[in-house]
Amino acid sequence: MKKTILFLATALFLLEGGASKVWAQSTNFTGYLRNYTGILLKDDNDFAIMQDTFDLRIEHSRGKVGFKANPYIYFNHNGETEIDIRQSYMDIYLDTVDIRFGKQQIVWGKADGVSITDVISPKDMREFLLPDFEEIRLGIQALKIDYYLGDNTLELVWVPVFTPTTMPDADSIWYRQPDFPITPTFDYSKKDVTSDLKSGEIFVKFSAITSGIDFEIMAGSMWDDDPTLHVQKTFNSTTGQLSSITVTPEHHMLKLGGGSFSTTVGGSVIRGETAYYEGKYFKSDDPAVTDGVMEKNVMHYLLGLDFTILDVKMSLQLIEQQIQDYDEQILDDENVDTVTFLINKDFLRETLRLEMFSYFDLNNDGSLVRPKISYDLIDGFNIIVGLNIFNGTEGKFGQYDDNDMVYSKVKYSF
C-alpha cells in the first residue's frame, strides 16, 4: 500500500509539473488508465478478471542520451495490488551505434503471436496468451548494442541475469497441475539459475531492409525460459509398486540459430521465420532414460501471408515445431502444427474495428478464437468488447475449454 501511494504521489507530482520546469519541458509523460473486466461463460459466470490499470511512460532525452521508465499498477478486484516497472532503461546515441542498458523488452522476428526467434524477453503466462502484447512480454535486465551501417544493423544483446517465464499461481484458472500417477514432491533446489558472469545469455542478430526484402539472421546462447521437470521415481523393493515421485524443475542452456524474412509480392506480404534449438528436453515414457526426460534438438518454422480482399485485411500463418531424431517414447508429438488466422476491417473512418484472431492446434483439434469489437468514442478513449473461446479437450488450447470468457476493456490514453 505504501508503495502504491508513493507511486501515485510521484506520478502526480511529475504530471502537475512539480519537477523543474526545464526538466518537464523536455520530458514526455504518456500512458493510460484502463478497466478490464472478464466474465467466464460457464455456469457460475465468475469474474475471471476485474482489474484497473494505471500505466505511465516517462521519456526524457538530452542530446545523445535519453531514458524511459514505464511503471504500472494493477488494482485487482480481489484486493491484490501489483506495482512494478515494465521497462526502465537508458540510451546512448552515437553516430553509428546505439547503446541501451537497463530493464527492457526486446522483440525479434517477423512472426505475429508466435515466438520462434523472438526468444529474448520471456513471457508472463499468468493469463495464458490473452494479455496485450506489451503486458505478456517481461522486461529483462540487458545490455543491447546496435551498430548501423546504412540500412543494415548488427545487434548484440547480453542478458546477465536470467528471467524465467512467469507461471500462473496454483489457484488460478490458468494453472494446470502436471500429470503424475501419485502426488509428487517438488525439489526446488535447482530451479534458480546462478546469477554470475558466466551464466549470462548472449544473442547476436544481423538485420537488413532493402527495396525488395527484409531479413534477419540470428544466433543465441540462452536458458530455456520454461524449466524441465526432472522426475525421480522410487519403487517399493517388496511390491515393486511406485512409492514416491520427486520432481526437480531445472532450467537448461539452449543454443539456437535462425532467421526471418518478409517481402511483398503483388499486394501481399510473405513472411517466413525459422530457428533451430539445440538442447531442448522432453518428457519420455522410456524407463531407461535418466529423470524421465530426453534431450533433443528442435526445428521451429513459420510461413505467413498478409493480404487484403475487398478492404478486409487478413493474415495467415502456418507453424510447425519438429523434434529432430524423434524417439517414440517421447510424450510430445514429433511434429506440432499450428495455424493462426487474423481478419480485421475498419469502419467509420477507423473509429470502429472488427477483428478476429484465432489459433488452431491441428494435433489436438483445439483452438482459441478471439473475436472483438473496438470503438474509439473519441480520440484516445477506446472501448473493446470481445470473446475468448477455447475449443477442444486437450492440448495447448483445448485444456482451457472451461475458460471461455467475455470481456471488456475501457482505455483512456493520454
Binding site: T30, G109, E134, D146, I209, D214, T264, T308, I378, S413
Partner: protein
C-alpha cells in the same frame, strides 16, 4: 500611325501568330500533368502536418504528424512520426517511392506496442489515411503514365489562369473513374481537383488554400478535401516548413523509425 507602320505591324503579327498557335498546340493534358509531376519541390523537406477531420455533425478530430522527405534521384524517401492522438503516438511510417513507372512503393510501419518494424503492402493505396478524406494515393505523386490525360479548357480561379485537365486511369479497377484538375499556368500547382467515383458521380473536391515560395520553390501549406457524398471534410496544414535543410540520408531508416523524433 502611318500606313507603312500599320503594314509592318500587321506583317509582324501575322508572322508571330502561327508560332503562338504552335506553342499553344504543344500544350497537351499529358504535358501539363508532367509539369505538375516534375515541379521542383527541393531535395528535402520537413514540416509539421496537422489534419483536422470534421464530420457532418461538425465534430472535429485532430491528427498531428512530423514528416521528413528526401529526394534521392530515382527514389524519394519519406518518414512520418505520429504525434497525436495519444494512442498512436510514436508510431512511425516510412515509404520509399520510385520514379520507375509501375513500380510499387516499399512501406514499413513501426508500432510501439509491438516494438517492431513491419513491412506492409503498398496495395492499400485506396485506403483512407488515418481516417481522413485523403487516401494514401491522394497523398503521393501519382505517375503521369498511370492515367490518360486530356486538356479540356482554360479557366481562371481566384484570378489565377489555369489549365483544366481530365485524367482517366488506365487501370479500370482504380478507385476513381476520373479526376479533373485545375492547374495554375505559372506555378504548375494543382489549385483544385475533383474526384469522381466508379459510377461517375462527384465524390471529393480538393482545394489548395495556401501556398508559398520557400527557397524559390512553391510549397502547398494548406489544403482542404471535402467528401461531397459523406459531408466529411479534412483540412491539412503544413507548418514549420524547411526546404533543402540537408536532412541526412540516415534519417530514413529503421533506426529512426524506432527511435522517433530527437
Amino acid at each position: 500611325m502611318n500606313v507603312l507602320k500599320k503594314r509592318v505591324l500587321l506583317a509582324m503579327t501575322l508572322m508571330v501568330v502561327p508560332f503562338l498557335a504552335v506553342a499553344q498546340a504543344e500544350i497537351t493534358g499529358l504535358k501539363v500533368i508532367e509539369n505538375v509531376y516534375k515541379r521542383p519541390v527541393g531535395d528535402d523537406m520537413l514540416g509539421d502536418l496537422t489534419m483536422t477531420l470534421t464530420n457532418s455533425r461538425g465534430e472535429d478530430r485532430v491528427r498531428k504528424i512530423k514528416q521528413f522527405t528526401k529526394d534521392l534521384g530515382a527514389i524519394e524517401k519519406k518518414i512520418m512520426f505520429f504525434q497525436y492522438p495519444a494512442d498512436v503516438r510514436n508510431t512511425s511510417f516510412m515509404t520509399w517511392g520510385y520514379d520507375e513507372a509501375g513500380r510499387d512503393d516499399d512501406q514499413w510501419i513501426y508500432l510501439p506496442a509491438l516494438k517492431k518494424v513491419k513491412r506492409i503492402s503498398s496495395d492499400s493505396k485506396s485506403n483512407y489515411f488515418m481516417g481522413s478524406d485523403f487516401t494514401y494515393d491522394d497523398l503521393g505523386d501519382r505517375h503521369p503514365t498511370d492515367d490518360v490525360h486530356k486538356l479540356l479548357r482554360e479557366e481562371t480561379i481566384a484570378g489565377n489562369p489555369c489549365y483544366v485537365v481530365e485524367s482517366i486511369p488506365k487501370d479500370e479497377e482504380y478507385m476513381y473513374s476520373r479526376t479533373l484538375t485545375w492547374i495554375m499556368k505559372d506555378t504548375w500547382i494543382g489549385l483544385k481537383k475533383e474526384f469522381y467515383d466508379e459510377d461517375g458521380d462527384l465524390l471529393k473536391i480538393l482545394t489548395v488554400k495556401k501556398y508559398e515560395k520557400f527557397s524559390g520553390l512553391w510549397i502547398i501549406l494548406q489544403s482542404q478535401m471535402v467528401n461531397t457524398q459523406k459531408k466529411h471534410t479534412t483540412n491539412m496544414e503544413l507548418k514549420n516548413v524547411k526546404i533543402n535543410s540537408g536532412i541526412a540520408t540516415n534519417k530514413f531508416t529503421v533506426r529512426m523509425m524506432k527511435r522517433g523524433i530527437r
